[in-house]
Symmetry: C2
Subunit: 179 residues, 2 copies
């Protein structure tokens, strides 16, 4: 449906940019579809046709913001690489904006595809770390085990269980996984 | 603010019951505050004053529905008890109603207290299992380790990562935790 570089892609970029600008200017609670449409230079019906409602639009914008911008840092060893990545992941996801994006991504996501994309971002970053380690000849766990042992506990505590969210916790999860 | 057995408690029970009845009759999407108020015999402003909006009310109702009704099954050993509990937890939470309650609990929860209550339910059940094992003289892990190793991966996959959600997965998480 979306032709990259086509009108559809331009509309998406304009609408996402309008949400980011208006949120920065007047905050999250003040956002409305007509206001976003006006800023993006499209009609409200264009937004409703494409996104259904504001929550689904905010979910798409949140997923874009959760997309990693750089490959994980290379510190020369699996444990160091995973620890650095886990610490940064926890720091970003447990920050107020990180929590807001996770909530938005989950809430306006009837088919679960945006939540799945968030998990795919983490899996892709972990794949890069595991691939580097394998090239170094290090034994590597399966990516799903890293998601279960490191990513899942951090996300569970961010969403359901306050406390325990410091860099030492992220490192401990990695150490427990790698034994 | 809530006097158990007082008017406040009666209002809560009537409103929660009205939500459950109306949802069963006409489904989740059809729920409105005026309709719920009429069924519960209260004014809409009573609901808005107490719950803020429909999403916060649905979050409270969802948390009530996620409250365990019976203590975890006693199979006479830590591994068997944890496996049975994890299998049942996964079965209930990954079912369509379970997923809907988790979503509701998270969405209408500005201060995170309802999500925290969901986690406390799981921790309490696990505490019972660990307490029994300790009385039998079995070595027991810390409850937070059980949450990280068993509950978190299941909840993470329910919310973010489809697939892998079968009883064998729940048992494998327990086996990995207990070594």
């Amino acid at each position: 449906m979306v032709r990259p570089g086509g009108r559809s892609a331009r509309v998406q970029e304009a609408v996402h940019a309008a949400v980011r600008e208006l949120e920065a200017e007047s905050g999250r609670e003040a956002l409305t579809v007509p206001q976003i449409a006006a800023r993006a230079g499209v009609t409200p019906s264009t937004i409703y046709r494409r996104w259904g409602d504001l929550r689904e639009l905010l979910s798409d914008v949140a997923v874009e913001r959760l997309r990693p911008e750089v490959p994980p840092e290379n510190r020369g060893g699996l444990e160091a690489d995973l620890e650095a990545w886990a610490e940064q992941f926890l720091d970003e996801m447990s920050s107020p904006p990180g929590r807001a994006y996770i909530r938005d991504a989950l809430l306006g996501d009837p088919d679960g595809s945006n939540a799945g994309q968030c998990s795919a971002y983490a899996a892709d970053q972990i794949d890069v770390i595991l691939g580097r380690a394998a090239e170094r000849g290090e034994p590597v766990p399966d990516v799903e085990r890293v998601l279960d042992g490191v990513v899942a506990p951090m996300m569970y505590r961010i969403l359901f269980r306050p406390g325990l969210l410091d860099p030492a916790y992220a490192r401990r999860l990695v150490d427990d996984l790698l034994g």
